[in-house]
């Protein structure tokens, strides 16, 4: 518990961590309040914002804050929906992939020996396989893919990066004397891993989660941009696809593609800040490095 409190205190001390977390929390809260916010837009417009209407390609104005698309749907409401989907895939795929990475890395590094070599070989194998072509092919062949399926596939192919970093960290941590002490007091492997090792790596694990979440969010965006991906869901990439295929570029309807790009960029920026902040916290040598 003390370690966890210390972790939060460390966040307060680092401006990068605080800014990154603040941005992330704002985006996530907006994403999860999307139903309520869309309700606000509904009363503002006076009609269902995501229903087809005759007002095609309205430029951003007081009524339609980000304009409308080729079917007359309100872009602001669609972007909110898209953000919620993108966050969902981030949580599903990011969480699952981090979970796999943690189990593989801890078992490999803590047990060592033949098991370690075996698990490391598997990690390297998955590291090599390019995810996007496989995902593209899968979504094209299997006609109806759900968001969960895409999340699982992303997780299956994206855990190795995190597993590698976590493994290296565990290898250095398990030599510490408090781990020996825990072993002497006859804690079993799982107790040592989860009570002694994991709390000391909370930041690293958070970092892995953040990276995996970003990677899977962008993978889904990429999939949707080229017109594939789970059926019946609107995500930020789907809106970009609407923009490029529907002629928003020629018509100058900037709202429809600037909004998703801006929101996704804020998420990436927030996670990068958190990443840099955490790295500085765990590697004090870096503090003088990260300028300003």
């Amino acid at each position: 518990m003390r370690r966890i409190l210390g972790f939060f205190r460390a966040i307060g001390r680092s401006p990068k961590l605080s800014l990154g977390l603040a941005l992330l929390i704002i985006v996530v809260v907006v994403g999860f309040l999307n139903g309520w916010l869309i309700g606000l837009i509904r009363t503002h417009i006076g009609a269902d914002p995501t229903a087809v209407s005759p007002n095609h390609w309205v430029h951003p104005n007081g009524k339609y804050l980000l304009g409308t698309d080729q079917y007359g749907r309100d872009v602001a409401a669609m972007t909110l929906d898209g953000l919620a989907t993108s966050l969902k895939i981030g949580i599903i795929a990011g969480g699952l992939s981090t979970a796999i990475a943690i189990v593989v890395a801890f078992v490999a590094a803590y047990r060592g020996g033949l098991l370690d070599s075996f698990l490391s070989a598997i990690t390297d194998f998955f590291l090599v396989i390019p995810t996007l072509p496989l995902l593209i092919a899968y979504s094209a062949f299997a006609k109806h893919v759900s968001l969960l399926q895409v999340g699982v596939i992303l997780a299956v192919f994206s855990w190795p990066g995190a597993a590698r970093t976590i493994r290296t960290q565990v290898l250095s941590l398990r030599q510490r004397s408090y781990v020996d002490l825990a072993k002497v007091t006859k804690l079993n492997t799982f107790e040592v891993i989860f009570a002694e090792l994991a709390p000391n790596m909370l930041g690293f694990l958070a970092l892995g989660l953040a990276y995996a979440a970003v990677a899977s969010m962008f993978a889904l965006i990429g999939l949707e941009v080229i017109g594939l991906g789970p059926s019946g869901v609107i995500d930020l990439g789907f809106i970009l696809n609407l923009a490029t295929s529907g002629g928003a570029l020629t018509l100058g309807a900037w709202g429809i593609f600037v909004a998703p790009i801006a929101i996704a960029s804020v998420v990436f920026f927030a996670l990068t800040l958190i990443n840099v902040g955490l790295e500085e916290k765990y590697n004090p040598r870096l503090r003088k490095v990260a300028g300003g």
């Binding site: 194998f125 396989i129 072509p133 094209a140 080229i226 490029t244 920026f269 490095v289 990260a290 300028g291």
Partner: protein
């Protein structure tokens, strides 16, 4: 990647110390540490290549919905009036696409075809054009665009990183670092899309699609070349704009780490000119991780850039992949994936061979 280098260095010192006269293969290994390293690394390279290609093969065969089944069923319906022709045709297609027998037979057939004949099988939509012909037509465009963009971004990023690291207390350097941190994780596609809108559609300065003007005749002439360069400018610049900052941050980090070393204080105490210290001491020692980064990006070039190529309808491998997927063109999709795997693995393999050549520290450890 320093991990790799210390590992190899460790293995080599070990093999050098056990240089006691040993018989047979082991003795030969001990006597030729460099060759042993290369052979072992090559074996690992072949093994991973095999495993990755087999993995993708399995993945594709286990996906629900075999496109060639659908194709042959379609054929069967068309030839329903002639049962004999129908069976013959299906048998023919199954044979050509390597779908005879169980999964294992299909697998050995695919591997044999790939390794011995360097053949990926025919393309489904452009039958009977081999899939490899389609890929090799797309490859020069992808390589031309991405190789140039990658190398330009690497060189500029390296110089920028060295400068911001050297003058690390300068506010401009601090500002650039923040900008770099903000931009480095933004997908190329976003920049490309905004660029297309602003420079392509709103101001009509640069062309927005294809690799050259449709009216221009392909050939080694001035007209064609300028058209190609003009069309490549926007996609290349959007890639360079983002990836420059990744290399900059990496180099800057390494520079500042190096600047803290004792030998830099010593160089300063000797009274060397700052210019010399920067180039010969700081930059040279910060260089190695950047070579690793370059090798990894160069390996990834073979994957093509699906999103950017697709936005510009650039006729490269990434665009081909999307088209092939749209038409469920099995062999082309597998070919592009295998090519990507080959690129990444070959890049890593060559890197491990080159690192001892450019880093004397690793050579001497032997």
């Amino acid at each position: 990647m320093t991990e790799v280098s210390t590992e190899t260095a460790g293995a080599q010192t070990e093999s050098a110390t056990v240089l006691v006269a040993r018989q047979g293969v082991r003795g030969w290994f001990a006597a030729h540490p460099l060759l042993t390293h290369i052979i072992k690394r090559f074996a690992l390279y072949i093994l991973t290549l095999w495993a990755a290609i087999s993995g993708t093969f399995l993945f594709f065969r286990l996906i629900p919905g075999n496109p060639i089944d659908a194709y042959t069923q379609n054929l069967a319906q068309n030839y329903v009036y002639n049962q004999k022709a129908n069976h013959q045709i299906i048998a023919h297609y199954n044979q050509v696409f390597g779908l005879n027998g169980n999964l294992f037979t299909q697998y050995t057939h695919y591997l044999y075809q790939l390794v011995v004949n360097h053949d990926l099988g025919p393309s489904l939509i452009n039958y009977p054009t081999p899939a490899w012909t389609l890929i090799s037509n797309a490859l020069p465009w992808t390589l031309g665009l991405l190789l140039v963009a990658t190398i330009v971004a690497w060189v500029l990023g390296l110089l920028l990183g060295a400068a911001t690291g050297w003058w690390r207390r300068n506010p401009v350097s601090g500002g650039l670092t923040y900008v770099g941190t903000a931009i480095t994780h933004i997908p190329y596609y976003f920049v490309a899309l905004l660029g297309v809108f602003y420079l392509g559609y709103t101001h009509s300065i640069l062309p927005t699609s294809l690799a050259y003007d449709p009216g221009v005749v392909m050939g080694w002439n001035w007209h064609f070349m300028t058209s190609v360069v003009k069309h490549a400018l926007l996609p290349a610049c959007s890639i360079i704009f983002v990836s420059i900052f990744g290399h900059m941050l990496g180099m800057r980090f390494q520079m500042i780490m190096t600047l803290g070393e004792d030998y830099l204080n010593f160089a300063e105490a000797k009274g060397l000119r700052p210019n010399v210290i920067m180039r010969k001491y700081a930059m040279r020692n910060s260089f190695l991780p950047q070579v690793t980064a370059l090798a990894i990006s160069l390996g990834a070039v073979f994957n093509g850039n699906v999103l950017v190529e697709n936005l510009f309808k650039y006729p490269g491998v990434g665009h081909l992949l999307v088209q092939a997927v749209g038409n469920l063109d099995y062999n082309v999709i597998m070919g592009v994936t295998d090519l990507g795997i080959f690129g990444v693995l070959t890049g890593a393999f060559l890197l491990d061979l080159i690192v001892p050549v450019i880093d004397p520290r690793i050579r001497r450890a032997r």
